[in-house]
């Protein structure tokens, strides 16, 4: 690997982090950021950076990394670079989990009867339920990712309908919260969210690094992979499950940020090839950079207003998806 490839993605992420921390209603230069992080600098700078800017930046980085890894795993399971968590109904499934959670566990006074910290679990369960439905529908079509995605689209439409129904059934003020969250945004970030997401991401990364040989084997076609000793059903199911958990975790904290899980693994593969360990390391970096860049754009484009981060990633991701679709169609 050349020096540029080795240091490119981390350097880009670092630069974007500085930029994302600096940009806001008042610009804070890199030198002031570094001194504030080191515990020096003015109190104002320290407060702005530690309580306002950094939680958001951290959440964007972690959500991007989780979605990118989930995409990488999913593309391996399906053996096609066109798959991604956002088109498999997982994102909307997680949303169903959350609104059902709000609806079921709130009392007459519209207060939650259980801790809000169960929300990620509800999101994961919803995502898992919908992923399971899509997987069951597509079990005969696993070699045809285009059909798989279409099942995902149908299930996502169903999930969106359920979300609106449960949002109306649930408490009103929760509905407005859910709406903001569904649009996909990292602006309401909190350190606790980042800590939980970081934990999940660390565990997933650990598992993947330990199982890097398996991730490598999944590149092979079904027959060859089986011949090299890869379990035919067990491994894909485990990888799919890990992918669902990662997506659900990212979605439950940062909302539906579309297409990151599609683009990041493809960029990473173009950069470092098929080596599993390198892919596992580089893909999250790319995903983080994408979400950070989209978040910066979302803040700058209509300043002083903010637009949803998910809308920005869709503007980039949708044409790329069309490109992949056309290329696969013409290659048969």
């Amino acid at each position: 690997m050349t020096v540029a490839l080795r240091f490119g993605p981390p350097a880009m992420l670092a630069a974007l982090t500085l930029l994302a921390t600096g940009i806001g209603s008042s610009w804070i230069g890199p030198e002031r950021i570094v001194s504030a992080l080191a515990g020096h600098g003015s109190d104002t700078d320290r407060i702005i950076i530690w309580t306002l800017r950094l939680p958001r930046v951290a959440l964007a980085i972690l959500a991007g990394a989780s979605l990118a890894l989930a995409g990488l795993l999913l593309q391996r399971v399906v053996r096609n670079s066109i798959a991604s968590p956002s088109v498999l109904g997982i994102v909307d499934g997680a949303a169903v989990g959350v609104v059902v959670f709000f609806w079921f566990w709130s009392n007459e006074a519209n207060a939650l009867t259980v801790s809000i910290h169960w929300q990620p679990l509800a999101a994961t369960l919803g995502a898992a339920a919908f992923a399971l439905c899509v997987a069951l529908l597509a079990r005969g079509d696993i070699a045809q990712p285009v059909r798989l995605i279409l099942y995902g689209i149908a299930m996502a439409a169903l999930a969106k309908a359920l979300v609106t129904v449960f949002m109306i059934l649930g408490p009103v003020y929760r509905a407005s919260q859910a709406l903001i969250w569904l649009a996909g945004s990292v602006h309401a970030a909190h350190w606790n969210d980042s800590a939980m997401l970081a934990g999940i991401l660390a565990v997933a990364l650990g598992i993947l690094v330990a199982a890097k040989a398996t991730v490598g084997q999944m590149v092979l076609d079904q027959t060859t992979a089986t011949a090299t000793g890869l379990p035919r059903v067990g491994t894909p199911v485990c990888m799919l499950a890990l992918s669902v958990v990662l997506t659900a975790a990212a979605v439950s904290f940062a909302g539906g940020i579309a297409f990151v899980g599609l683009i990041a693994p493809n960029i990473a593969r173009a950069l470092v090839g098929l080596d599993p360990l390198r892919l596992i390391c580089v893909t999250p970096l790319i995903g983080s950079s994408l979400v950070l860049a989209a978040d910066i754009a979302a803040r700058v484009i209509a300043y002083p207003l903010e637009v949803p981060t998910g809308a920005i990633t869709a503007l980039v991701g949708a044409p790329y998806f069309l490109f992949l679709l056309m290329r696969q169609a013409s290659h048969g």
Binding site: R147, A157, L158, T164, A302, V307, L315, M326
Partner: protein, 332 residues
């Protein structure tokens, strides 16, 4: 035509009248037939009268007209694209019209109805043209499923552009969001009463294309030998379908799945003869939209669910079963 098929026609007309009448009676307040008749025949200025004449009648008319138009639009697209999954919502035509109307309203500040109609038509035609370019670029290698994915992606792209426009224009945001949610309640009366005749005329006009569509269903080569200019037919019929979808969007906002479900139900009854299919699809589309609207008023009493949600609850399973369909599987 067998007696049984003639009965189908009668049943459909009765169904249409029944759902229309039901829609006048059912809502948050249930009215008896006597009350409805009194309000319709002898207008007074009581609150009940206002509810029935001022709210329920326009709403029912909007559901019937838009349902019929979207159903026929879907049927036409399915026929000339030879794609059982084609539908204005899934192919991005609705999204194109929505984007163009939002652009005209919020960026150019246009409010005149004729100009808005032109923008809706341009947007819908633009989305259709984009899809056609993709089909031409792929040189016939796009399967029905791939074409649908391309349409859904174009819709996602246009929706995120619409979202950016809506979020950055705080003045019109609320009205825009209401219109973009899609539905038949509280729609612009002027729009409804001026555009409905145009839609009904257009539906009647499509009847002229039925013999050519029948010829085309046998294959392009056979159609040619029967004297049908398939390119010209495709152009005209897609134009009609786009016109129907664009004006429907202007009246009721983007409403999905009617165009997918209605033609397939009609096919179950009327087979493949397009003369029968066209008007049965119109009747079924109108009844379906109206029934979904009635259901939307009652599922989460005292609130009201969006009709797009009830339609998705019906449409998504239909989409799944169509993708699983054997014939389509063979075609892909």
């Amino acid at each position: 035509m067998s007696t049984w098929m003639r009965w189908h026609g009668t049943i459909l007309i009765l169904l249409l009248l029944g759902t229309g009448a039901l829609s006048l009676h059912v809502g948050l307040r249930l009215y008896s037939p006597c009350e409805v008749w009194a309000a319709l025949s002898a207008p007074s200025y009581s609150p009940d009268d206002h509810i029935i004449r001022g709210l329920r009648v326009p709403r029912t008319a909007a559901a019937l007209v838009v349902g019929a138009a979207l159903g026929v639009s879907g049927l036409l697209m399915q026929a000339v694209l030879r794609n059982p999954l084609a539908e204005p919502g899934l192919l991005g035509v609705n999204a194109g019209a929505s984007f163009a109307v939002v652009f005209a309203l919020s960026v150019l500040g246009v409010t005149a109805l004729p100009v808005l109609s032109v923008f809706a038509l341009l947007g819908a035609a633009g989305a259709m043209a984009g899809l056609t370019v993709l089909v031409v670029l792929a040189r016939g290698t796009l399967t029905p499923v791939s074409l649908l994915l391309a349409g859904v992606t174009i819709a996602a792209l246009l929706n995120s552009l619409t979202q950016l426009l809506v979020v950055t224009d705080e003045g019109t945001m609320e009205a825009m969001l209401f219109w973009l949610a899609g539905g038949f309640a509280d729609r612009d009366g002027l729009l409804l009463w001026t555009l409905s005749p145009a839609l009904l005329l257009c539906i009647a006009f499509t009847y002229l294309s039925a013999p050519a569509l029948n010829a085309m269903a046998t294959g392009d080569a056979t159609a040619h030998s029967l004297g049908v200019d398939t390119m010209r037919l495709r152009f005209i019929v897609l134009g009609l379908a786009t016109f129907l979808a664009a004006l429907s969007v202007l009246i009721a906002g983007p409403v999905g799945f009617v165009g997918l479900v209605a033609p397939h139900v009609a096919r179950l009854m009327a087979g493949i003869h397009h003369g029968l299919l066209l008007w049965r699809t119109a009747l079924i589309g109108a009844s379906l939209a109206c029934l979904a609207d009635v259901a939307a008023r009652r599922v989460v009493v005292p609130q009201e669910a969006p009709v797009t949600a009830t339609l998705a609850l019906v449409g998504a399973p239909v989409l799944v079963s169509l993708v699983r369909n054997r014939q389509l599987r063979a075609a892909a």
